[in-house]
């Protein structure tokens, strides 16, 4: 273990969240749970990324009073990247939920194993 385990507490919790999301995505056989797990995983990554932009004792990067001093504001770039990421993950969520609905219409279940088994007969 490196020395910054406790000072990087935001990143550590982001990693914990990431792994909870990751294991939800892997372990749960209910598709809806899988999708929630994917969402948790994504927000954890965004938390990790946004924590990179934070600087203690500084203001949000909105230049209200015209002071152009880089030391006064937080780093706005990770925020911009996360903004892009959030929209990407909502799009993916919408698409996967639509797939779940179609699968439910066809097989009457949201359980991955049952679907895999039932779809084998379609071949």
């Amino acid at each position: 273990m490196g020395g910054n385990f406790f000072t990087n507490y935001v990143e550590i919790s982001a990693v914990v969240l990431f792994c909870i999301g990751f294991s939800t995505l892997l372990f749960h056989q209910n598709l809806l749970k899988k999708i929630i797990g994917f969402n948790i995983m994504d927000t954890a990554i965004y938390l990790f990324l946004a924590a990179k932009g934070y600087i203690a004792d500084s203001d949000p990067a909105i230049i209200v009073d015209g002071i152009l001093d880089a030391g006064r504001y937080v780093n706005p770039l990770p925020g911009a990247l996360v903004l892009t990421g959030i929209v990407v993950s909502v799009s993916v969520t919408a698409f996967s939920l639509a797939l779940v609905l179609r699968l439910y219409e066809k097989y009457g279940t949201m359980h991955m194993d049952e679907i895999l088994y039932l779809s084998r007969e379609d071949r």
């Binding site: 990431f18 990751f22 994504d42 990407v88």
Partner: protein, 518 residues
């Protein structure tokens, strides 16, 4: 700045705009638009390739008014131009060849949207090839994932939708890993552009700091992209997705989409980390081992298949194994061979899928191999194309597959530690390839009255016989009529394959020079 340097930007924008336009247009119009856009991109990429080959330089195109570390950038050299050309040609040919099947398999209301997906898929592939920025690469990886899943799901049977959700879940795991790796890189270097990350990584390497995070980053990126390009232990989604989609989708997914991620991985290895760094960390050895495993197990799975499309899909797993094996050899020749194999597989596998489609048409769309008996006589061109593709996959001289296998073998001689393994597995994999392709060829040229069991017993040595057979046989009982466009594309596919197999010199030189420019 010359006008020709706008080509990467124009081709990306063209395909996105064509995609947006398809949203409200009817299928026929959408198809024409898509084919037009693809043809235009093909021509432009060819012009770019010719120009860059003459000048021998690469260039950087800044997207917007802000230079390097502040704005986005595109970068193009001969390698990128060659890949863009190959991808657009393969897309165009597979779309034309699979055209009939698209209109059969997909409900009329969805056909326009299918072409929309194709356009956006093309734009994301082009962006992956040309981008010089890691975060842009992530965004376009997501577009690629969604569009690829959507073209599988467009057929709308239970099987395809199940395949899609498996594909989607695996892809999401992969993109999650990619994104966390990108944020780790950002956190230690503070840059997102490849050149600048490289510069600050060199400083970090000199100081010896952040070694653990960087090792984890390389591992995460390799695994993330390996999941998306179906390297062996992560391939589980591929057979169902590629085996159940409509023909054009299968052809495009196996020929082009898998390769886009490999190219991104190569770009990251070469342009972000530098080869020495990769070799220090043994990641190359990991990819090498997985590649070898994929070459054998992919073929073994294919041997068990009775469904022709799934057989071809498993064969893709084996071929992706070849590509990663070449990268894992970690010599310049190995990478060149891998890149050549990307091209060889990109033109062979779509041809096989389209030819299989032509064969299946003669037997009422059954995907079972034993239903295809004597299909090669009923649809002669498809039979010929399937034979040519199989021979290329097995690695018979004159076809492109031979060249890449030959170069893999040559490359292995340069890295003594891996030579024996590579040569052994190459030989074994060739044998296995022959063992599952030859019975299919024999079946499609068998006469109706012959038993199938006879065909299965034919050995590796007999593989030349089926090639000669179409000329020898007399009148086939029923000649299937395929549209002229299908015939033309099949002929073009075969010619392209033979062209790559014979005139491989200049192509290899382009790849070599392109990789040096990286």
């Amino acid at each position: 700045m010359q006008l020709i340097q706008n080509i990467p930007f124009i081709s990306i924008m063209l395909s996105i705009l064509a995609g947006v336009f398809c949203f409200a247009s009817k299928a026929k119009l959408a198809e024409r638009l898509t084919l037009g856009a693809l043809a235009a991109i093909t021509l432009m990429s060819a012009a770019l390739l010719a120009e860059l080959w003459q000048t021998g330089e690469s260039f950087i195109f800044s997207m917007g008014h802000f230079p390097a570390p502040w704005g986005n950038e595109l970068r193009a050299g001969v390698f990128e131009a060659l890949m863009a050309l190959a991808f657009s040609v393969v897309m165009l040919l597979s779309l034309i060849a699979g055209r009939e099947r698209i209109y059969d398999d997909i409900a009329p209301a969805r056909q326009g949207l299918y072409f929309l997906m194709i356009n956006l898929l093309m734009s994301s592939l082009l962006a992956l090839i040309y981008t010089n920025d890691l975060f842009t690469a992530y965004v376009f990886v997501e577009i690629n994932t969604l569009a690829a899943c959507a073209i599988v799901a467009s057929k709308d049977t239970g099987e395809t939708i199940t395949a899609t959700i498996r594909y989607l879940i695996m892809s999401l795991l992969g993109s999650g890993m990619l994104l966390i790796a990108i944020s780790l890189i950002y956190s230690v270097t503070g840059h997102l552009l490849m050149d600048h990350i490289r510069a600050s990584l060199e400083i970090l390497a000199a100081k010896g700091s952040y070694e653990v995070p960087l090792a984890v980053v390389i591992l995460l990126i390799s695994v993330g992209l390996a999941i998306k390009s179906a390297l062996y232990p992560f391939h589980t989604w591929l057979p169902t997705a590629h085996g159940s989609a409509t023909t054009a989708s299968s052809a495009i997914l196996s020929g082009v989409v898998l390769k886009g991620y490999v190219i991104l991985l190569l770009k990251i290895f070469y342009r972000v980390f530098g080869l020495e760094f990769i070799h220090q960390l043994q990641v190359a050895n990991l990819l090498f081992a997985f590649g070898l495993a994929g070459m054998i197990f992919g073929s073994l799975y294919a041997l068990r298949e009775h469904n022709i499309k799934r057989l071809l899909a498993y064969s893709s797993v084996a071929q992706v194994g070849y590509i990663f094996m070449g990268i894992g050899l970690s010599t310049a020749t190995g990478t060149v061979a891998a890149c050549f194999h990307i091209l060889a597989h990109a033109i062979t596998k779509p041809m096989l899928f389209c030819a299989a489609d032509g064969l299946m048409e003669t037997s009422g769309h059954s995907r079972q191999i034993h239903d295809l008996k004597s299909a090669g006589h009923k649809n002669r061109l498809a039979g010929l194309a399937f034979t040519a593709g199989s021979l290329s996959m097995i690695g018979i001289p004159l076809f492109s597959g031979f060249v890449s296998k030959f170069y893999f073998a040559t490359a292995s001689l340069e890295s003594p530690g891996k030579m024996v393994m590579t040569l052994l597995v190459l030989a074994l994999s060739t044998l296995l390839n022959a063992m599952y392709f030859v019975p299919v060829i024999v079946t499609i040229y068998a006469h109706e009255d012959e038993g199938l069991a006879q065909g299965e017993e034919l050995s590796f040595a007999d593989q030349f016989i089926p090639e000669a057979e179409p000329e020898e046989t007399g009148e086939p009982p029923l000649v299937h009529k395929s549209p002229v466009s299908y015939k033309l594309t099949m002929i073009l596919f075969i010619l392209l394959n033979i062209f790559l197999g014979c005139a491989y010199g200049p192509v290899l030189e382009i790849i070599e020079r392109g990789l040096l420019m990286f």
